[in-house]
């Protein structure tokens, strides 16, 4: 036990003094990831807010032909702008981006309306421009609301109940909790958490195995009266410590960054208080032995520092792949999925952020399988260290 602790302390001290390790281990997770996250979400939400609050600008050609319609639009907060454009000119103006959209009212609009025919209106829009499509949607909704109003009036004049033109009444009931809506964005966060854990332990896993062998310090170390399993477990503990610290710092930084992001403006709320952060940390940390074991096993097979680095960069993709899949497909938690490491932590962490209740069984399966796999990998690493080939 004493030897394991000695090895742990020495590896931590030595790596804390290595600036390369500190920069790569903590810079990515603690600073870079939350900042990237913060910037992108702030930009997205700023744009959403700007679109909602902006009064709708609607250039109209031929406004004089439909005074009632223009009045209706004004009443609904539209800033009407009189323009003199033919339909060809209007299309060019929208295509070139000069105008977001143009409403064309034909000369015979009033005549058709009086005759009870369908009065022609043209809304020129560019649906390929995602910037303007929200305002185009608003314009379209307002125009059809005006049409509906006219239809109702006409029916009532003829003594017909207006509901005949509404054979089905569709009500949309939005059940998305504000926190649920931010899920896609917050799903990115578990990805960053795994990255920061793996990157945090990356250099130690290599340095304590392939690195030590390459520098020629492994052989004398093996001549000391300490069992090899104590040496390698001490080294893996040091890797685990770096992974855990990196995770904790990342979560804490996220906690701070999220308070500055106007998620509420997006109709989202982040359930990300200190208690949730601690709960996420507790569930994520069960991954640490597995990650440390996995990286140590891979690094033990390689012959040099450089080889270990290229192998590990590939291996780091494995725990992250299921999360990418889950974020894209919107996978829901189930007991079976709780046996898939990294995916199970992702699902529980996102449930925590949504504020959903989490079955105790899920937590048990998640922690159980992850820790069992971790123990298995640590066992493999210990076995590898008994081989003579470990000296290269």
């Amino acid at each position: 036990m004493g030897a394991m602790w000695t090895v742990f302390r020495k590896e931590v001290l030595e790596n804390l003094r290595d600036r390369r390790v500190i920069v790569s281990a903590f810079f990515f997770g603690v600073l870079l990831a939350p900042v990237i996250f913060g910037l992108t979400t702030t930009m997205v939400s700023k744009r959403a807010v700007a679109n909602q609050d902006k009064p709708l600008n609607l250039p109209i050609a031929g406004a004089t032909y439909a005074p009632n319609l223009v009045q209706f639009l004004r009443e609904n907060g539209v800033k009407v702008e009189d323009v003199e454009l033919t339909s060809d000119q209007a299309m060019d103006a929208v295509r070139s981006g000069q105008q977001d959209m143009v409403l064309l009212i034909a000369e015979d609009y009033g005549k058709a309306l009086q005759a009870g025919e369908s009065a022609p209106l043209s809304l020129v829009v560019d649906t390929s421009n995602s910037n303007t499509s929200p305002s185009a949607d608003r314009a379209r909704q307002l125009l059809s609301a005006y049409g509906h109003q006219l239809a109702v009036l006409r029916l009532m004049v003829r003594g017909i109940n207006p509901t005949v033109i509404e054979p089905v009444g569709v009500h949309t009931l939005d059940v998305a909790t504000p926190a649920g809506r931010s899920l896609l964005i917050l799903g990115m966060m578990t990805y960053f958490c795994f990255m920061s854990m793996l990157v945090g332990g990356f250099y130690l896993a290599i340095d304590t195995t392939a690195g030590e062998r390459e520098r020629g310090s492994l052989e004398p170390l093996l001549t000391l009266p300490v069992s090899r399993s104590q040496l390698i477990v001490g080294k893996m503990l040091a890797t685990s410590a770096f992974m855990s610290v990196s995770l904790l710092l990342t979560l804490a930084t996220f906690g701070v960054v999220l308070t500055f992001i106007p998620l509420e403006a997006l109709g989202m709320s982040a359930n990300f208080g200190p208690r949730v952060i601690l709960a996420i940390f507790a569930i994520m940390i069960t991954f640490v032995p597995m990650g440390a074991g996995l990286m140590t096993v891979v690094a033990s097979f390689t012959r040099s520092n450089r080889e270990a680095q290229s192998w590990l960069s590939v291996v780091m993709m494995f725990p992250i792949a299921p999360i990418m899949f889950a974020v894209v497909t919107g996978t829901k938690p189930s007991a079976g999925l709780m046996a898939v490491p990294s995916l199970n932590q992702h699902l529980i962490a996102t449930s925590l952020m949504r504020g959903d209740s989490i079955p105790a069984l899920h937590v048990l399966i998640c922690a159980g399988t992850t820790l069992a796999l971790g123990a298995l990998l640590v066992g493999v690493a210990i076995r590898l260290y008994q081989r003579e080939a470990i000296l290269g």
Partner: protein, 242 residues
Amino acid sequence: MIQVDGLKKRFGAVQALQDVSFSAGDGKITGLLGHNGAGKSTTLRILSTVIRANEGRALIDGHDCSTDPLAVRRSLGVLPHASGLYAHLSGRENIRYYGELHGLRGAELNRSIDRLVERLALGAVAERRAKGYSQGERLKVGLARALIHRPQTIILDEPTNGLDVNAVRMLRELIRELRDSGRCVLFSSHVMQEVAALCDDIVIISHGRVVVRGTPAEILKATGAPDLEEAFVRAADQGEVA
């Protein structure tokens, strides 16, 4: 005290050791001499319990290298071929790490470190990080690290490689001092002069076999050579024939 009897070791298709037997007594300096690739390092690795022999027996101070490696390691100090110091630790921290892994603690450990720092005249060097050490400074810290637990048997793998004259003299002096205090010192080299200058006993190894062993005088007699240099060449060739 080292007793080696009929060691054989194979790495894949290569038979690194065919038959190695010799002994190295307490209070003596024994030189293990041979060309590069003759089997010196393999023999030392088996003795330091890093690898195991396929056949034969190696005893260090009565402990069997393959069945009781932990007891062997407790009475053994090893200076490896490469210094293997940790660049980000100071000299003192490097020595302390090995001391702690030998089970030394507290005041006893501090005393042992101070004793070696003084004996090897490490002084301020011990407080500096190992990163910028010269060859000689690396050797001194490596020696202090190998001797921290006062081992009875000391193994040095080609210790004089790349050292300047002063460092070599310091090393020789220290090796003699260890012998005079009753320790068993085994060191390997491929330079005859090196061995001739220092050793009480010489073991010449070639192609995985011990071809000649004994005191310098005995070796001259056995090979019929006029000097040790010639004796080494003849003995090595003899291994070639066999």
